[in-house]
Symmetry: C2
Amino acid sequence: MAKRDTYTPESLLAVAVQVFNERGYDGTSMEHLSKAAGISKSSIYHHVKGKEELLRLAISRALDELFAVLREPGAEEGRAIDRLEYVTRRTVEVLMSELPYVTLLLRVRGNTDTERWAMERRREFDHEVAELLKRAAADGDLRADVEVRLATRLLFGMINSVVEWYRPERGGAATSDEVADAVIATAFAGLRTYR
Amino acid sequence: MAKRDTYTPESLLAVAVQVFNERGYDGTSMEHLSKAAGISKSSIYHHVKGKEELLRLAISRALDELFAVLREPGAEEGRAIDRLEYVTRRTVEVLMSELPYVTLLLRVRGNTDTERWAMERRREFDHEVAELLKRAAADGDLRADVEVRLATRLLFGMINSVVEWYRPERGGAATSDEVADAVIATAFAGLRTYR
C-alpha cells in the first residue's frame, strides 16, 4: 500500500542508503527502493533521476564531511604529527556521525561512473592524509621502520574498521569520544606498555 | 566450449573462490562457476553437491589455517603479550598466504547455514585472541586506557585490512615479512616517536 509521499530529499536518501547497505548497490532495484520507502517508483522519480543519483547524493554527503575535516584549522596548522592526529580523530568522528553514508562509500567497488568517481575521491582523501604522514616522517615524528605508504594503509585499516562494528543504537557501546581516543592511543602510541 | 574436466578438488575450489570474491557469494550461480571453470555444471556436480559446499570447503581452509596458529607453541607458551604479538604476526602471514580464502571468510554476511557457521567460527577465533588481550592487560603489559574489547576490534581492524590492499602479484609491493613487521610495530608500539 503506497503511502502519501511526504519525503524530503534528505529523508528519501536516508531510506535509500539503508537499502544500499543491506542489499548492496548492485543488488538494489528501484522496486526495492519503492517498497522500502512505501511510495511508488514514479514518486521516487519525482525526487531523483534514478538509483545512481541517490548513490551520488549519499556518497557526496560522506565525502563533503570528510574533505571538510582537512580544511579545519586543526588539520592545517601546527606540526604535521599533531595535524595527523587531529585528522585521525575527526575522521573517526565523521565515520560515526555519518555511519551509513561512510559505510556506503567504503563498500563501493567501481562498476558505474558514480562508483569510479567515489573511489577516485576516496583516493584523493587518502593521498592528502598520506602527505601528512610523509611530513611527520620528515620531521622525525613518525617511526622510521614502517614505510609511509604501509603506515597510511594500516592507519586507515584501523579507522575504517569502525564502520564494521560501531552500532550507536546498541546500548553499552563505546561513545564516539572513547572510540576516537582508542584509535589515537593505539595507532600513535601502541597497545603495549613499556616499563 | 567445455574443456576436459581435469580438476582436482583443490583446483576447482581455487576457481570458485575467485568467482565468489569477484561477484559475491549471493551473486554467483552454478552457471557462473561453470563458465569460469570451463566445464559443464554436471561436471561440477561430479565434484561437489553445489555452491554452498564450495563455500564451506573454502572457508574451512581459511579457518583451519587460522585456528592452527592458536595451537602453535608461540601462541601457547610464554607471557600473554608475547603470545599476542606472535598470534598477530602469524595471522597476518596466514591472511597473505591464503588471501582469497580469508577474503571470502571476512566478507561472509550470514544468509545461509554455512555463512552463519563461518561467522560463528570467526567470532570464536576473535574471542580466543580477546582472551589473550585480557591476560596481557591483567599482566600490566597492555595500556589501561583502551578497553580490551575495543582494543581487540582495532587490532583486527588493522590486521584484516590487509586483505583490502595486499596484492602479491603487483611488483614492488611489501613482502609478507615487511607487512607483518609493520602491523606489529604499529599496533603494539605505535606510529609516533617520543623523544
